[in-house]
Amino acid sequence: MGVLMSRVGIVGAGWYGFKPTTIDISFQDMMFESSARAYSSAKIDPRYDVDAFVDCQEDMWEGIAIADEFAPEPIGGALRPTFTVAGDGLEGIAHAYMLIKTGHFNVVSVESHGKPSEIKTLQDIYRFALDPLHVRPLDYVNPLFYAGLDAVAYMKRTGAKREHLAMVAVKNKNNGLSNERASFSTKLDLDYVLSSNYSIYPMTNYEIAPFSDASITFVLANEEYAKKLTDNPVWIDGIGYSTETGTGATEWHEWGKMKSFRNAAIMAYKLANLNGNPQVDFAEVEDRFSFMELLALEETMLVKESEAHKMLEKGDFNRDGYLPINPSGGSLSMGIQLEATGLSRLLEAYLQLTGKAGNHQLKNVRRGLVASWRGVPTYTSMVALLSV
């Protein structure tokens, strides 16, 4: 019946950047570049065809106190219904999904960008996100210690070893070699990782994703418009996002687990009318810290608890394995684009499902899953379930 039952589809995508630095272009111009490509791929004119525009960014990343001001012009949203979600791009996709499901909006675009190369004091900006009373005053130096705490607790709980964490890095850095967006890919042997020094115990620099600049835009539409606009829409069967606890109360986090992934997955599967494992052909999941890939797979119920490292060892997650994970090379190869990181995973899934992934195209994929985290020190994650 009508609009409420209508599915939501992705009808176009565009990206620009994925380089460690982009000094030749301002962030606004980068947004224009990615959105122009997205609208061109969806064959629409944003000034006439898009009903609402969503932009995802955070002030402290941008260096501007109300970065929302700069959202409308480059993405075609000036004097149109445009707003900012102070969150990951996948949260923006969730907003677009809901806007379309109300029946008031036919076509919605979502843009997110990150330009970490412009931030001179990144470590301090991260520190600025920690609880000012109980955590920030401590002399820990590197705020990414949060990931180390979770990694150690995860390994203890599941029996995963340091070698397994290194194997994730080896798989993803090598996968990236055939992905044009993977600036940090490299040919990597397990020995290289195991013989290098720890940065944050139990991880080396191979296992901690670096940063890159990018802007990514998606165009979403309801079923009627999606079918009109394109022959190969990618349906968003379900989307979920969840927060475990606030950054003002990270003490309430359950160490070594990521409940936010589990709750986001449950929400997404429920919207897709599924219960438990969604039986996907591949997944793009969180890997800004190597252990996170294994944890995310377990928490999203794609694999059984404490099984991920065993499957990894067997090669199940390789591109030619039983369940390819991060065929793009993930964040370890593409970098973290701040709030666009979730969209970088969605982009890969979209390209795979439409058969446009080029050199690293998987065969016969019809259903995929995207799971992304907002990063230290948050406990917020997003999950999207896609199909063609």
Binding site: Q123, H134, V152
Partner: protein, 151 residues
């Protein structure tokens, strides 16, 4: 832009900027104020919500009811730990920092703090105790606890 981007470095301007004020002043909050007073006296307070104890006290319980302050005299257990060898710019630290999550035995949550524990003894589940700074150095902040060490 689009088709007429420039690639001569001298044609491209990098403009420095900032987003700083002179300083931020963070008030401790309702329970935070009592927690701070406790630290100054060498005590660690927790919050009792129904039958569960949460440390540090955060004024409201996870279910939004208001908690009751209690003093913690339990022994502390290491929940997880990590060692920070490098800063975010990949420079090695002259002295690596050991960071841990420590919680009183009977509490649900605990503090994030620095540890002074030999690396070979470092293991989830070990028993720890807080080491306070001398009374005259205490200011009512989390740094009144110097670190946690083996008990």
């Amino acid at each position: 832009m689009s088709y007429d981007k420039r690639n001569r470095m001298e044609d491209l301007v990098i403009f420095p900027g900032e987003q700083e004020v002179e300083k931020y002043v963070y008030t401790p909050g309702i329970h935070g104020l009592e927690f701070a007073k406790g630290l100054k006296e060498g005590k660690i307070l927790g919050m009792k919500c129904h039958d569960k104890i949460y440390v540090p006290p955060k004024t409201f319980c996870p279910d939004f009811t208001q908690g009751e302050l209690v003093e913690i005299n339990d022994e502390w257990i290491l929940v997880s730990y990590t060692i920070v060898y490098q800063d975010m710019y990949k420079n090695n630290l002259s002295s690596p920092r050991i960071v841990g999550v420590v919680k009183p035995k009977n509490a649900e949550t605990g503090l994030i703090h620095l540890l002074n524990v030999p690396l070979d003894k470092l293991e989830i589940g070990i028993k720890l105790k807080p080491v306070f700074r001398p009374t005259n150095e205490r200011k009512g902040t989390i740094n009144d606890i110097k670190y946690f060490e083996l008990s």
